[in-house]
């Protein structure tokens, strides 16, 4: 199951600097020492890459007018990617019909925080030994599996050639005035006390700096990194029917200058509190099918889940996958007015910085803008260095959370409409569609808190996304009505075939995406979309009563 998450596990040292290059030399030296020994063995690896990722994180939180606490963490994670066999068939090849526990375990390796070449070399060789022996065992199983089973549907190789890159990318320093932020968090979090309906709430800032060093026996040598900050606030309450209402708002950015100022944070807090209050008294929606508009962010999440995961390269050759689009290259899968790209090289849209931006993927390949769908016709997949039939090379999308093996993932997914209408016109078109379908109302999905999709063959290829703000729109001119309690569900091909029109109002969704290779930062940029028919089902809910006593301090 693949899912999106807005909230990072929220928490930097006061001082940071540009990415130093010493660890690169240390890694290079260790890699040379390991390869020198491995090449004397009967089945030496043909590929070996080391990566060290250092993460510094600080989270400061305020709640109800008080500084609530902070969390600091700093650590370095080592990744060893080793391949034995050949590019044609190697140890990473998927074993068909295997039990879930037959996957080789990837060692979780933590490196010392301070540079220590001798210790790092010792550590790397020790774990390379473990990984190498595990890879040899796996290759035996892979070869046997290839003989025992019927011929593979996709006979493409397991790995492809890529030009090794050598680059050192500067990373701007980050420093946080903790006392100033504590004061701000006290001040803005107190606003929630003005809203008795809000039961639990917080405002927090997370400042994270990630620095990465990557080398390979092919000659890759990259030092880069990423600064990421998030100012977030949420409020929750339990409705009279037991449903928990939660509203989350946030701003992501690469620097403190991109974070909202106190006035803007105040506005965010008021906004969240007002939405929680309004949602508490909003009526529930019954299961429904009919026309709907997905506003920009909601449409972005929708495309990320329903489309984006299905065009990740490894899913096209994995025979356990549903392979919705594998054989559809060159065919229309979306309306002709829509084109889709994934462009990790794009840094911002307007004033909004994008989460899914990076220069090199986790296999050291430069990120590329990939035209996935042009005028409705599928053209490409997101590729790492594992080829797929007719797609022999990487386009720089192999990504991972440190500690995981990289697979193709989305970066910045852009949904572009060649013909679009102003939002007001799109809304009029919705009303026309409501009337045409003789429905009592249509729906507008303003915001989505996350979602998931199943892409495998053993489960229905369905998706479910969790809207936060949903409006009923009536054809008879009554005002829109805020409602709650539904999830947007469906299947991809049917839903895509029902996209009728797009707005001229692209919006950015920034978030974290979880899949096989862990959590990675992503963005999706989409215009509002009018869909002829969506289906909603009742949302899972608890049955707890709201708190029995009024909040303290309220009579």
């Amino acid at each position: 199951m693949l899912s999106l998450l807005f909230a990072l596990p929220l928490s930097l040292p006061p001082e940071t600097s540009e990415v130093p290059t010493e660890p690169l030399s240390d890694l290079q030296s260790a890699l040379g020492a390991a390869m020198a020994q491995l090449q004397r063995l009967p089945d030496p690896p043909y590929y070996l890459a080391y990566a060290v990722t250092e993460t510094d994180q600080l989270t400061l939180q305020g709640t109800n007018g008080s500084f609530a606490g902070n969390e600091r963490s700093r650590g370095r994670v080592v990744d060893i990617d080793l391949r034995v066999g050949s590019m044609k068939l190697d140890n990473t090849h998927k074993i068909r019909d295997a039990a879930w526990f037959s996957e080789p375990e990837r060692p979780g390796v933590r490196a010392p925080i301070a540079d220590d070449p001798a210790l790092l070399r010792n550590l790397l060789l020790r774990y390379t030994d473990d990984v190498y022996r595990s890879a040899l065992r796996q290759l035996i199983k892979v070869r046997s599996n290839d003989v025992v089973k019927v011929e593979r549907e996709d006979l493409s190789d397991d790995f492809s050639v890529a030009t090794p890159v050598q680059d050192v990318v500067a990373l701007p320093p980050l420093s946080v005035d903790e006392d100033a932020w504590k004061a701000t968090l006290r001040q803005v979090s107190a606003i929630y006390l003005q809203y008795p309906a809000v039961q639990d709430s917080a405002v927090e800032i997370t400042v994270q700096q990630e620095r990465r060093w990557l080398v390979s026996n092919e000659g890759a040598r990259i030092a880069d990194g990423r600064n990421h900050l998030r100012l977030a606030t949420w409020g929750t309450a339990i409705a009279a029917d037991g449903m928990e209402v939660q509203v989350y708002d946030y701003v992501d950015g690469p620097s403190l200058e991109k974070m909202p100022d106190p006035k803007a944070i105040e506005a965010m807090v008021h906004g969240v509190a007002q939405r929680v209050t309004a949602l508490l008294s909003a009526p529930l929606v019954e299961p429904y099918d009919g026309p709907a508009i997905l506003r920009g962010r909601a449409a972005g999440v929708f495309f990320h889940e329903i489309f984006g995961h299905r065009i990740e390269g490894h899913r096209q050759k994995d025979e356990d996958e549903g392979q919705t689009f594998t054989s559809r290259v060159g065919q229309a899968i979306l309306p002709t007015f829509l084109s889709v790209y994934d462009d990790p090289t794009l840094q911002n849209v307007g004033t909004v910085d994008l989460n899914g931006t990076y220069r090199y993927d986790d296999e050291g390949v430069p990120a590329q803008r990939v035209p996935l769908v042009e005028h409705g016709v599928l053209r490409n997949f997101l590729m790492g260095r594992a080829p797929v039939a007719n797609f022999p090379t990487s386009n720089g999308h192999a990504r991972r959370q440190p500690g995981f093996a990289p697979v193709p993932r989305q970066g910045n997914l852009l949904i572009q409409a060649e013909t679009s209408v102003p939002y007001s016109k799109l809304r009029e078109m919705l009303i026309v569609e409501i009337r045409k379908q003789k429905k009592p109302f249509g729906l507008i999905f303003d915001d989505i808190s996350g979602g998931f999709t199943f892409t495998g063959r053993s489960t229905p290829n369905a998706f479910s996304v969790q809207p936060v703000t949903v409006w009923k729109v009536f054809a008879d001119g009554r005002p829109d009505q805020l409602v709650r309690g539904v999830d947007l569900i469906g299947t991809p091909l049917t839903t895509f075939s029902r996209i009728l029109a797009a707005g001229d109002d692209p919006e950015v969704f920034n978030g974290m995406c979880g899949a096989e290779s862990g959590w990675v930062p992503v963005s999706a940029i989409a215009p509002s979309l009018l869909i002829q028919q969506v289906e909603v089902q009742r949302q899972d809910k608890m049955s707890d009563r709201p708190p029995l006593l009024p909040p303290p301090g309220v009579r």
């Binding site: 020492a33 500084f67 700093r74 010392p112 001798a118």
Partner: protein, 558 residues
């Protein structure tokens, strides 16, 4: 003129007190009982955890820690919502992080939510419990909770807490782990340490309002060597003290760590003891682990939680193992728990977590269990708390040991004990006897199997980390990794002789049961053991294999 600030209640206490009053007077679900008892247990302090490997920092966590444990009971002391477990269902105990600043309103809001959730869960738990009892004959069950007089201790009366110095802790883990760099054979050379210093406030609707200081410092050292045939051998060292100032001098700790490294390095020439059946001598830390792993579940009287009826379940039902009148040790042995001791040991305290003053309990007399450690949860055998109510986080407050002393009727000198051991070995045709000097503490296990016996799952023994062959000429030869086979409490009855006293030894442990294996390497509650070295007539140990030889030659660290 208003009240002087000197008389003002500390903000934390004020917040808890105001919410306690409000909850006791106002919390009420329709057609459901009100709370008859609410107890807040607040931990407020600093925790720093540092890990270094071969002299370099690997991780450092530093946080302000303020957590509330809110326990709400509905029903009555006779029958209430506690002591019942239904899989996956919440009970009347809820934990919640509180803001680290003394903002009364912000604190109260968190207490409000925690109390509300605990009350609702307690009401449901009581109904589940009564439903489970439906149709039972006249209950022979004990009451659910024992009343206790309120106890008061002021914050102002507490001594100042020592400062939590994260730099000092990081330096300690760096310096100690650096000692292991001198041993190139080692694959793991880690030191993990934690300082936890804080205050604890017990506030209850019974009138208790008790502030106490709490905390510990724990240092764990782990070394692993891989022998030529691939076998891993692990050894450990630990220090558990109240404050950093209580740690031994640094040079002494460094020497101990160097000794560990040296010992592990020497393992490359150690023989493999394939299969051993015969007398075993437990010395030093191994003697402490032997008793501390096998005895607690036999001396703690807290009954297991009730469960929903399930006729299909055979082994999952929890049965009490502590049974008065049961022989646990040979004739003449005694076991006493005395948390009131004036010794500066980790297991000593003046009030348990329920606010009850502990008393000295002679548990085993002449080898037979005569008394039990009790919390305020009574059993059919004992209704009064002995002041041993302690548990971790959200667990109910069962009893656990404090400061235990195991005394034999007679003790031999080390030389005499070894001579006796060799004589027993000779009787079964062995030219040597195995001596176990160290074992993994439950907090540091990598892998473990429990013994399933006739009356319930019983704890076995963790892996020994230092085992020697003792030959008749007095030569001590270390052997490779081993494990015990089929051990349970009954082996304690097979103690043949006792030797010199080991201890008092401080450790961090958890309540008896599976939870004690889940406390983590730097968690738990202080317990102190004083035990003799012992010779057991017969035990079975087998050599542990596993692991593969290294293909790559690992470079040195310097």
């Amino acid at each position: 003129m208003l009240l002087s600030t000197a008389l003002a209640m500390p903000p934390l206490e004020q917040a808890l007190s105001e919410e306690l009053d409000r909850a006791m007077s106002g919390l009420k679900l329709p057609d459901a009982p009100k709370p008859y008892l609410i107890a807040y247990d607040l931990l407020d302090g600093d925790v720093v955890t540092s890990q270094s490997s071969f002299g370099r920092l690997v991780s450092l966590e530093d946080e302000d820690f303020r957590t509330l444990r809110a326990e709400v009971r509905v029903g009555s002391y006779q029958v209430d919502s506690s002591n019942f477990s239904a899989f996956g269902e919440p009970d009347g105990i809820v934990s919640r992080r509180l803001p680290v600043e003394d903002n009364v309103l912000a604190l109260r809001r968190e207490v409000w939510l925690a109390t509300d959730a605990a009350y609702k869960a307690a009401v449901q738990q009581l109904s589940r419990k009564l439903a489970a009892r439906q149709g039972e004959e006249e209950s022979k069950r004990s009451t659910d909770y024992t009343p206790a007089p309120p106890v008061v201790g002021e914050l102002a009366s507490l001594p100042a807490l020592p400062a939590v110095d994260s730099a000092a802790l990081t330096n300690l883990t760096d310096v100690l782990s650096r000692e292991l760099r001198a041993f190139p054979e080692l694959e793991v050379g880690d030191v993990l340490a934690r300082i936890w210093q804080g205050r604890r406030l017990l506030l209850s609707s019974e009138g208790s309002r008790l502030w106490r200081n709490t905390g510990f410092v724990v240092v764990r050292v782990e070394g692993v060597v891989r022998l030529a045939d691939g076998t891993r051998h692990r050894n450990l060292r630990s220090w558990v003290v109240r404050t950093m100032a209580d740690l031994p001098p640094l040079a002494e700790m460094q020497a101990e760590v160097r000794g560990l490294g040296s010992w592990l390095s020497g393992m490359k020439d150690a023989p493999l003891e394939e299969d051993y059946l015969g007398p075993v001598l437990f010395e030093q830390g191994a003697a402490v682990e032997l008793f501390s792993q096998l005895l607690p579940s036999e001396i703690v009287g807290t009954p297991p939680t009730e469960e929903e009826p399930d006729d299909s379940s055979v082994i999952s039902r929890r049965a009490p193992t502590a049974r008065l009148g049961r022989r646990l040790l040979p004739v003449g042995w005694t076991v006493v728990d005395d948390p009131t001791t004036s010794l500066p040991v980790m297991g000593a305290y003046d009030r348990d977590q329920e606010g009850v003053a502990p008393r000295v309990v002679e548990l085993i007399h002449d080898g037979v269990l005569r008394d039990l450690l009790m919390s305020r949860i009574p059993s059919r055998d004992r209704s009064e708390s002995t002041g041993h109510g302690r548990s971790l986080s959200n667990d109910r407050r069962g009893a656990m040991p404090g400061v235990l002393t195991v005394s034999p009727p007679h003790s031999l000198s080390e030389v005499a004990l070894r001579r006796r051991a060799l004589r027993l070995a000779a009787q079964v045709g062995r030219p040597y006897v195995l001596v176990v000097r160290a074992m993994e503490p439950p907090a540091m296990i990598e892998d473990f199997d429990v013994a399933i016996t006739g009356d319930s799952p019983l704890p076995g023994l963790t892996f020994p980390t230092e085992v020697y062959r003792l030959y008749r000429d007095g030569k001590m030869e270390p052997v490779r990794s081993m494990e015990f086979v089929g051990v349970d409490r009954r082996v304690l009855r097979d103690i043949d002789r006792a030797g010199p006293v080991v201890g008092p030894v401080d450790m961090l442990d958890g309540p008896p049961g599976p939870e004690r294996f889940q406390i983590g390497a730097v968690g738990g509650l202080g317990v102190t053991w004083t035990v003799p070295s012992v010779l057991i007539t017969e035990l079975e140990l087998v050599g542990r294999r596993g692991g593969e030889p290294r293909l790559l030659k690992l470079p040195g660290l310097d």
